[in-house]
Amino acid sequence: MEKVLTRNIGLEQEPTNLKAYEANGGYQGLRKAMAQMSPKDCQDVISASNLRGRGGAGFPTGMKWSFVPAAEKSTPGHRYLVCNADEMEPGTFKDRLLMECDPHQLIEGMILAAYTIGADISYIFIRGEYIVAIQRLRDALAECYGAGLLGENILGSGYSLHMHVHPSAGRYICGEETALINALEGKRANPRAKPPFPQVSGLWGRPTIVNNVETLCNIPHIIDRGADWFKTLGLGEDAGTKLFGVSGKVNNPGCWELPMGTPIREIIEQHAGGMQDGYQLKGFLPGGGSTDFLTAEHLDLAMDYNVIGAAGSRMGTGTMIILDDRTCPVGMVLNLIRFFAHESCGFCTPCRDGLPWSRQVLQDIEEGRGQPEDLETLAYQVRYIGAIGNTHCALAPGAMEPLQSALKYFYNDFKQHISAGRCPYH
């Protein structure tokens, strides 16, 4: 298979090396767009490519961009492009790779995206802990400003764009795009109510697009090589390639670029090398900590948004977390809920107070104090917190996904904890 997003990864040169990036075809998409494509042309290509957001929700990127009001219909002022490089979803480790190993690819994608939507300022909102990535992005930005790829009149096209790196002060909710916007504004990162969507009123009240790192990294290639080419990369319905990852007790945990629609079994057994000796696969979260568990019976499904959705989970970020037979599912869910409860922004009640309540019940069960009625309480909490719309943003419903599916697939484990008065895995 052709490597697209990771073609520069593993090269000998320094990752920030503009020369090496260009030598390998870098900034061709940008040069092409600046020389011969209007923003509308770019928009059409991206819409036609069927690129879907890689940040977790899988929203079609072209459609998202098309909601930005036409410049002549909107009040004059800045427009912003923001790259979401917060990557704090437990079990997710793909954007780090893209930024540390090929920062120019992201920058090129961002310039193209900004050009398309008419943005004049862009920010990379990145996890503060990603020290190496921050440094490499900053170095790469400096190279770009030096080479006329950023700043005023990019490549003589008349288009100007500024780009800044904003390292986060750390909270998972900053990954939610409207919370991220508040964080960029220097405020408390509570999510905003939608509508209005950021495309209309985002950063500092201006039209804003927020895209994931991986989404943006796809842009240069699509512009350069066209929508049709991009669509041929996927094995199934979804277009392009995707970074898939596996963590947990497998022989070769890691992250690989594979075609969209690659079967789960192939990812786990071939690329991740299968389960470690003495461990059996009991279940897995297909796309990070806020997706529903799937089990061995789902191994032959393709990693496609709709396929995984039909199976009752979400493709999320495409980085899987494997639950093995010697790890306690209750403990795993407790670990996740503890994370979500702590990372709640505290704005809305079901999340702020409901998640600690679930955490308490799970902790009681895990530590042997569970009561039979606790299972009912958990189911009640899933109904209460788990539906989109019950809460102000998607954090809390995401938090309930592992719990709700664990209650479905691992109900016996919960019951055993309660009847035995202890965790059977210890």
Partner: protein, 174 residues
């Protein structure tokens, strides 16, 4: 000068010219002064290890915000420290992949070696141990950051190599 000494001298001091210059550079990237609030907090913290009340007030004044507004921002985020921390902060990942790969055991070993629990600083002021959500290195679990460095594939040997000869009493309650 070590950071611990800086903290001592911090009482009553205001922002240094260097800090102000760095904050002002950030102001160029945002349309409102308060937009640089988080950057400013991080700049000051990078120099002093944490953000004292005095610093918080000084930053707020510089950004034309009220201390309350800035306090609201500072206390919202995990990585802004409003209490003193040691020379290096250990950000120990306790999220799901690391947990599956046995981070609880490793955490106990670190605690035993350093004599501190989460939220505490070693008596020699070298380390403050804090939990951190998933560090995005799950394929190399368990992991942690010590200062700016990512340490992966943690096991007993690595803990020993890093902290093994640190022999200190439990630090003050932070």
């Amino acid at each position: 000068m070590s950071k611990s000494q800086m903290i001592q001298t911090d009482r009553g001091s205001v922002l240094t010219a260097q800090e102000i210059a760095e904050i002002d550079a950030e102001l160029g990237h945002v349309p409102y002064k308060s937009g640089a609030a988080i950057d400013a907090l991080k700049i000051v913290q990078a120099k002093r290890g944490w953000v004292s009340d005095e610093c918080l007030q000084a930053i707020a004044r510089h950004l034309e915000m009220s201390a309350e507004e800035l306090e609201g921002v500072a206390t919202f985020y995990n990585l802004i420290y409003r209490r003193p921390v040691g020379e290096k902060v250990i950000l120990f990942c306790d999220s799901v992949s690391c947990w599956i790969c046995g981070c609880d055991d490793i955490k106990q070993k670190i605690s035993a070696a350093l004599g501190v629990d989460y939220g505490e600083t070693t008596a020699d002021n070298q380390y403050t141990l804090l939990p951190v959500p998933c560090l995005g290195a799950c394929d190399r679990a368990p992991v942690m950051m010590v200062g700016d460095d990512l340490v992966t594939h943690l096991d007993e040997a690595k803990v020993k190599a890093l902290f093994g000869d640190v022999k200190v009493e439990a630090g003050g309650d932070q």
